[in-house]
Amino acid sequence: MDDTRMTRKQFAAAILVSLLSPLLRLLPQTAVSLTGRGAWLSALPALVPPLVLGAILASFQRYMRPGEGMGGLLLRWLGPVIGRAVLAVYAAWFLFYGGFILRSGAERLVSTIYPSSGQNLFVVATIFLCLTVALGQLGAAARTAVLMRAVLIGALAVVLILSAPNMDPDRLSPLGWNDTGHILLGALPLASVVTVAGAFSFLSGYVQPPKDRRWLLGTMFLLTVLGAAICAAVVCVFGPELTSTLTYPFFIMIRSISLGDMVPRIEAVVITAWVGADFLLCTMLLRCAHEAIRTIFHLPVPDRFPMGSLRGGRWLLWLEAAAVFGCSLFFDLPPWQLRQWSDWYIPLASDIVLFGGFALLWLVTIPKRKKDPVCTENGGSQ
């Protein structure tokens, strides 16, 4: 097996773990404040945009050559000028988003566990770890994601099971037809989270064939189910109105969990474990940005060089990490402003860049798709 590449399952784990970070940032509070008690039902309409995006990405993927990601395909189809401009926009977005993830993760950790500590301590520590992993082979990060997936999903399951005694299913009802509009509106945050998976198409050149699409759809479906389960559990514990006013309802719910008298509190372990999701998403965004920049400058694949090497444009990874850190400084805002960014501006921008952008590119490249041969799994063309 080629160690520089990932299997589909490892890539799916990387996407799932990475997206658990925005999932708990936007859910349940933002979804519940838009929807109310029916937030858990929002998972159904929330599946539609990711399925559309999944179909678009699958359509692009058919034309990708072996080892080629979204960056290479766009440069090939859009030409050197427009293609490079589009890739530059995506690279800038990934770095900006990475900076936001760093800051919001640090803010969550500080406000829930370490109130006397400064956020920059966690931001610096996380970006340092992200850079270390990004300098290594992407396959290693994906294999780590497989372990982290087991830890985080396990932690989530434990939290939901141990919170069950505090749940009152009556809080999920009553629901009537007049709630339909709210439920559709509440699908937006969940859909925004899942469509972030689109960013990972820049790394699809590192995935071993065959290019089966079911794993991507399965990951999106699982994320949506997890989102619905989290919303339902938190609403059952706090009720919809209180959920929408609490600072971090899911983590406040964890704070109330005890494992008997022996372990009266477990929230520090669970919340800190969630830093793993921030760390992986930030690492992946760093590599996505590097893929876009590497494609612009026709640089070699970074995984072919030793970890400490600066050859082949690997010094750019240091610069990109510095850019992510710089962007995180931009988000050194009062908590209420950071929440506005988190709830509105970032999801909206993410939807525009990833969903809207790919949809637009799909439309623009229809003529190219008619001319370009479809690539087969073994690298041939039809």
Binding site: P115, G118, G176, G239, E241
Partner: protein, 370 residues
């Protein structure tokens, strides 16, 4: 060499971010210096807040440390409390009981909920009780060398679960307040137990249940009488274990439930609430040996008495305009016409007529027909 560097690289964050000993984190706590607070009492004293705390009995029955301090706000009072114990760090992560004095419950309930939400240490699932009078009295006056407020509240907690009263957590109260504009909270009072025989070393006051307090969105609305509280328990909680004195008999509620429905007028407007309760009790004791009530008469007397309590309780909710019984949500769940009931509930509630019916059955009535 590379492996050693890797181990050092991985170990450094563990050493510096662990929160123990030499640490970069400002949140480190030395376990030896922590004083674990188990009960907090909050009082509103005009513009100032009074915070009273108890650590609970220490190992080897070491007496509890009880302190009280005032401040401009909750955090200020906590800082002043810390000044009283400079050698130790007061630690609030293990608080089990939160007592609110009645004035604090009236004026700063929402402040307390928001404070706990923002606090990285306190839990929303802390049991909350409202003290008739000052919480400081309940914390300070109930402690002596042998016991303290935490032990007394733990005892009350155990009794409450067997006698039918419900101690609600701050989370449950906050959820009910935000969902239905009202909530119930168990009220307590300190009392010199007049009929108790004290030994010399039992000099502190007892804490006894005093029915429920009705809470509205802005704070305490009213204290319910014990009878109204029993009606409220039947409507909202699990009344199993409640002791009821009816017609010279003491009965224990074995189980009970309530169904609340809304009725629309012919033109489709909300008109009435009907409450149907079922109750099964068992006779524990005949208070008068010459009592001659038949079991049927006892059933009827019980139904009538409980119906009176429930009616009184619902009427209190209507008079105060505070839906502490969760009537709105109960009606919405049972109604198929949600849009008729969902709006302007606070204006609607006082105008609705209420019909209460209780179907009661008395068990263990073997010798009543003699």
């Amino acid at each position: 060499m590379r492996r050693s560097l890797l181990i050092l690289y991985v170990s450094l964050p563990l050493l510096l971010l662990s929160g123990c000993g030499f640490s970069l984190s400002a949140d480190r706590h030395d376990a030896e210096r922590l004083l674990l607070i188990q009960t907090m009492g909050l009082d509103s004293d005009g513009d100032r807040v009074r915070m009273s705390v108890s650590t609970g009995l220490g190992p080897d029955d070491k007496p509890a440390l009880v302190m009280s301090a005032r401040g401009g706000g909750i955090e200020d009072a906590i800082a002043n409390l810390q000044d009283l114990s400079p050698e130790n760090q007061l630690f609030y992560a293990h608080v089990q009981y939160l007592l609110l004095g009645q004035e604090a419950a009236r004026t700063m309930l929402n402040d307390v909920i928001q404070w706990v939400d923002r606090s990285p240490t306190l839990r929303m699932d802390t049991d909350m009780l409202i003290v008739k009078g000052l919480a400081a009295d309940a914390v300070v006056d109930t402690s002596d060398e042998n016991t303290d407020v935490t032990a007394r509240l733990a005892s009350l907690d155990r009794q409450a679960s067997s006698t039918g009263w419900t101690i609600y957590t701050l989370r449950e109260i906050a959820a009910e307040l935000s969902q239905g504009d009202g909530a119930l909270c168990l009220a307590v009072e300190t009392a010199k137990a007049e009929n108790a025989v004290f030994t010399e070393d039992m000099q502190s006051d007892a804490i006894v249940p005093a029915g429920y307090a009705a809470l509205g969105r802005d704070g305490l609305v009213a204290f319910l009488t014990p009878e109204q509280s029993m009606g409220a328990e039947l409507l909202t909680g699990d009344p199993t274990g409640l002791l009821i004195n009816v017609a010279d008999s003491t009965m224990e509620v074995l189980d009970g439930s309530a169904r609340i429905d809304g009725t629309l007028s012919p033109d489709g407007r909300p008109e009435a609430i009907s409450v149907q309760c079922t109750l099964r009790t068992g006779v524990l004791e005949k208070l008068r040996r010459d009592s001659r009530l038949s079991p049927e008469q006892l059933d009827a007397a019980l139904s009538e008495t409980v119906a009176g309590w429930v009616t009184d309780c619902v009427e209190t909710a209507q008079k105060t305009g505070c839906d502490f019984l969760g009537l709105k949500n109960a009606v919405l769940r049972s109604s198929k016409t949600l849009d008729r009931w969902g709006e302007d509930w606070n204006e609607l509630l006082p105008t609705l007529s209420v019909t209460v019916s209780v179907e009661a059955r008395v068990d263990r009535s073997y010798d009543l027909a003699e």
